[in-house]
């Protein structure tokens, strides 16, 4: 068959004929729609009143049992549901009104190209040029240069004030290396205390397979408890001495510990979450934030996950009374890596 006389593409057939709705032709349907909309608006009014009544009438602590939710606070449910009814009544009413009673015949609006006409552009360019001419921009380059420089610089004082007063970064490097485990020269070793109770621990208190969450005794004198804790939190575990790996890492871990009791920084070397999940059978430590896994038998080296470095070990021993003490602070900065960590 020849395709002569046929266009290359189909023609847009134009808008299809409008199909009437029930409410367009049937006054009874229209009346029904009207009643439905009015009912929805009324429901909203009831919701609003319900909210106000609930707000003033229902006590804060009355509980109620609701399937799928369980025991819950009555006030919260009542306020929420009545407010929702109040809002949804208006919403459903208005949309239902628009759909059933307002005209549903589509209208056409013409579009015009977004770009301005050539004349308009020429006019705008003309005004700009004339303005530049009047301001004598070209003839007075020194105004142009100084003006532009001044404009470029004016925000600087504000920036300096803001950045300069946010905090003092000069201490960033030294403070990153310090913890309250650090013992001043000739100072007394610091006792290890339980995190919550802050009581000291005897080596004999630590059973094999147990884990203690530790802070330095110095925390009691701390002026910035959270900031100090954020670097000084330590995890203490006791392994059977034969559990440690038979290599230099295992030996080092053991020798920095006391009879199989070892203490490691709890602050993850990845981004600083507390690494607290100790599996006493595998001797693995897991960080709950990003799943870095450390092997306690091998000096807390990383065996899985996004961390690179081992957890820093805290060297411990016992004092005259048998309490666990740390004779010195960490040998390296604790927590996440940063650029100048090794400096």
């Amino acid at each position: 068959m020849s395709d002569k006389g046929l266009p290359a593409t189909f023609e847009n057939p134009g808008l299809p004929p409008h199909i009437h709705r029930a409410a367009d032709d049937d006054p009874r349907a229209a009346k029904r729609a009207e009643r439905q909309v009015a009912a929805l608006f009324t429901l909203s009014i009831i919701g609003t009143l319900g909210f106000i009544v609930s707000y003033f009438a229902v006590p804060n602590d009355t509980t109620v049992f609701i399937p799928f939710i369980g025991k819950t606070i009555l006030l919260n449910i009542l306020l929420g549901v009545t407010l929702a009814v109040s809002l949804l009544g208006i919403g459903f009413g208005a949309v239902h009104w628009a759909k059933t009673l307002m005209s549903d015949e589509e209208v056409i609006e013409e579009r015009h190209p977004i770009a301005s006409s050539d004349e308009d552009r020429a006019k705008a360019v003309g005004i700009l040029n004339a303005g530049a001419e009047q301001a004598q921009l070209k003839r007075r380059p020194i105004l142009k240069a100084t003006g532009a420089t001044a404009m470029g610089l004016f925000a600087l004082p504000l920036g300096v004030q803001l950045a300069g007063s946010m905090g003092n970064p000069t201490k960033a490097l030294e403070e990153s290396k310090e913890t309250i485990w650090d013992v001043p020269e000739g100072g007394k070793p610091i006792r290890l205390v339980r995190d919550v109770e802050r009581t000291p621990i005897k080596a004999s208190d630590v059973a094999i397979g147990s884990v203690f969450h530790i802070l330095p005794e110095t925390i009691k004198d701390s002026k910035h408890v959270l900031a100090d804790k954020a670097k000084a939190a330590v995890l203490l575990m006791r392994l059977h001495p034969s559990s440690f790996a038979n290599d230099s890492l295992g030996e080092k871990a053991k020798s920095w510990g006391y009879e199989g009791i070892v203490a490691y920084s709890k602050i993850c070397t990845h981004v600083g979450c507390p690494v607290g999940l100790y599996e006493q059978q595998t001797h693995h430590l897991l960080c709950p934030c990003h799943q870095s896994t450390f092997d306690v038998t091998r000096d807390c080296n990383v065996i899985f996950g996004p961390a690179k470095r081992a957890l820093p070990q805290l060297k411990i021993t016992v004092d005259d009374e048998g309490y666990l003490v740390a004779p010195q602070g960490f040998a390296e900065p604790v927590g996440p890596s940063y650029w100048e960590r090794k400096k």
């Binding site: 068959m1 395709d3 266009p7 290359a8 189909f10 847009n12 057939p13 134009g14 299809p16 804060n60 602590d61 606070i73 006030l75 449910i77 306020l79 929420g80 549901v81 809002l87 949804l88 919403g91 949309v95 009104w97 628009a98 307002m102 005209s103 549903d104 589509e106 056409i108 609006e109 579009r111 977004i114 946010m166 970064p169 960033a172 490097l173 990153s176 995190d195 969450h213 910035h224 959270l226 900031a227 804790k229 954020a230 990845h270 981004v271 600083g272 507390p274 709950p288 934030c289 799943q291 896994t293 899985f304 996950g305 996004p306 690179k308 470095r309 927590g335 890596s337 940063y338 090794k342």
Partner: protein, 574 residues
């Protein structure tokens, strides 16, 4: 006075006279309107605005869900500011939540507990605020998907796409700042990790951290600072950009799906007054109402369960809100091997890539996409008719591939929850997701493209052979065939009114004199990309093809496809 001028004056007077029947306003509303118009001239603009036409489609409401969620957040946020105390000063809790009685905590946490337990209706407002925030990011993401897959970002709307991209990125930061404010154990762990992120920035990391926290982590500055970022700085930018977004929608007029009567030069739909006022206005109440209902029935962020922030404890299942999940997931997948020592300095790419670089890089690629596509297609026309996603197979496939990669990262953030719920090993899940991050997007691309092409072919078949009527006819010889009904022109138009551009021919990369030039090389690259985009394509049925199909008869055409015109055209390689 010339005659022309006097005629104009007469016209004016006539116009005045015509307007006169309106007369002096009688109703109170009329009086107010006249009062306002005499001072603002608002009637001129209003008459244009009120007649503005908006096309009707459910997918066009996704942006509205985002807009309304944002408004609801602003509204409920103002409420919350009246009770929330943005301070890290310590207090001993004396409110009505028993399990925390007497515990030392920050004023921020204590006041959030007060909002939840002691301010009547405070918990409802807080839950609406948080659910609306989640809904805001959900709906703006899905709105972005709609705009992407229908090609609505094409000229002249590239600027609006970029604004939307920035809005989306700021929404993430706004959300992070917001859920960090209560200073509970979970959000505090998030800030703790954020401090680790800052430290990973090469060279300036520890300085940035010290400046942001006003000293060592956590210090006492971060909550008040996040507070002013959350309630002042970012909302101001969000609202400003959003206003620009909306003005541009007005200027461009809304896009519309292809269909009968819809052209590049018109917009078909309903006028603002009254239909859209009722529909869009009503929709605000619907969104607000539904979010309120969710907030009445479902708990969000039970901060009382987490306890106050303390750097020593942590909870299993520490996750950020969902929209930060992909970055957290990236951190879980990036292996520790990416941390290096160079010249004694530490470079933590394992953190830096996922936590600091990922978000800006992702949004830069997203924001640049319209410009990339325009460069490849060389298409400089205005587009107001949307593409059906199947009619742009490569773009659709690219979008699905990107979303797949995003979903893999998102899943990685829940690897621990998956491990317990599915009783799998968290290590296996992590390893699998590491591989899937690279493999799944490629697969998704390929599958999506095939699906698009076969849908297009199906469209062609429908146009050529009509719709299956469900009526079986037995011929005299005992054969059966199904009667196919011809499409009416309105239905057919939707299936044939699309463009299927051919790829640009690949040049030799050398100019006329046989010398390879930079410009020619660029053209060659462009042609290669164009081939990637358009080498597999399905063309719309032409009237001639339809006539030919009719000539062959309805059912024979199916039985003898070789007689039918070549349905799929592979690009010829020159």
């Amino acid at each position: 006075m010339s005659t022309a001028a006097s005629a104009r004056a007469a016209d004016l007077r006539a116009g005045d006279a015509k307007a006169a029947p309106l007369g002096a306003p009688k109703t109170a509303a009329g009086k107010v309107a006249v009062w306002a118009d005499e001072r603002t001239g608002i009637a001129k603009g209003a008459s244009v605005m009120l007649k503005k036409v908006f096309p009707d489609h459910w997918s066009f409401m996704l942006g509205e869900v985002a807009m309304y969620s944002m408004i609801i957040c602003l509204l409920t946020g103002v409420f919350l500011t009246f009770w929330f105390v943005p301070s890290m000063g310590e207090v001993a809790y004396q409110g009505s939540y028993l399990p925390l009685k007497g515990i030392t905590m920050s004023e921020a946490y204590s006041s959030t507990l007060a909002i939840s337990f002691d301010v009547r209706g405070g918990l409802l407002i807080r839950q609406i605020h948080h659910w609306a925030a989640l809904m805001f990011v959900v709906s703006l993401s899905v709105h972005m998907f709609r705009v992407f897959f229908t090609g609505a970002f094409r000229k002249p709307r590239e600027i609006n796409w970029v604004i939307g991209t920035i809005l989306s990125m700021l929404a993430l930061i706004e959300g992070f700042a917001g859920y960090s404010l209560p200073d509970d154990l979970l959000s505090g762990t998030g800030i703790r990790a954020a401090e680790g992120f800052m430290r990973s920035i090469p060279i300036v990391g520890s300085w940035v951290s010290y400046i942001v926290f006003g000293g060592a982590f956590p210090g006492e500055a971060i909550i008040p600072r996040l507070y002013s970022v959350h309630i002042l700085l970012l909302p101001a930018i969000l609202v400003g950009l959003f206003a620009a977004h909306l003005i541009l929608v007005m200027v461009h007029k809304h896009t519309q799906y292809p269909g009968p009567g819809r052209t590049e030069n018109n917009v078909v739909g309903f006028p603002l007054m009254p239909v859209y006022t009722a529909k869009a206005g009503g929709f605000f109440f619907l969104v607000f109402g539904l979010l309120t209902l969710i907030s009445a029935l479902v708990t969000i962020n039970p901060i009382w369960a987490y306890g106050p922030y303390d750097p020593s404890p942590v909870t299993a299942g520490s996750q950020p809100d969902w929209y930060m999940g992909f970055a957290d997931g990236a951190l879980r997948l990036l292996p520790g091997a990416l941390e290096f020592e160079i010249f004694g300095f530490t470079l933590s790419l394992n953190v830096f890539l996922g936590a600091i670089l990922l978000i800006p890089v992702m949004y830069t690629i997203t924001g640049a996409y319209p410009f990339i596509e325009r460069w490849v297609t060389g298409d400089n026309r205005e587009h107001h008719l949307l593409d059906r996603p199947r009619n742009a197979p490569t773009r659709t496939a690219l979008g699905v591939a990107a979303i797949t990669a995003y979903i893999i990262l998102f899943l990685a953030a829940g690897n621990d929850i998956m491990a317990i719920r599915l009783q799998m090993s968290i290590n296996d899940i992590t390893e699998a997701l590491r591989v899937l991050f690279f493999v799944a997007p490629v697969l998704a691309f390929w599958v999506t493209k095939r699906i698009c092409l076969s849908l297009q072919r199906h469209d062609r078949d429908t146009v050529l052979h009509g719709r299956e009527s469900g009526t079986l006819v037995r011929t005299a010889e005992g054969k059966y065939y199904e009667v196919h009904e011809d499409l009416d022109p309105y239905t057919r138009w939707k299936l044939v009114s699309f463009e299927s551009p051919a790829p640009i021919a690949i040049g030799s990369g050398k100019d006329a004199n046989g010398v390879s030039s930079k410009a020619a090389k660029k053209e060659r690259r462009r042609a290669k990309l164009s081939r990637f985009y358009f080498k597999d394509r399905v063309e719309p049925v032409t009237p001639a093809e339809l006539a030919a199909a009719h000539h062959h008869g309805e059912h024979e055409a199916i039985e003898a496809p070789s007689a039918a015109p070549q349905a799929v055209k592979r690009a010829k390689q020159d």
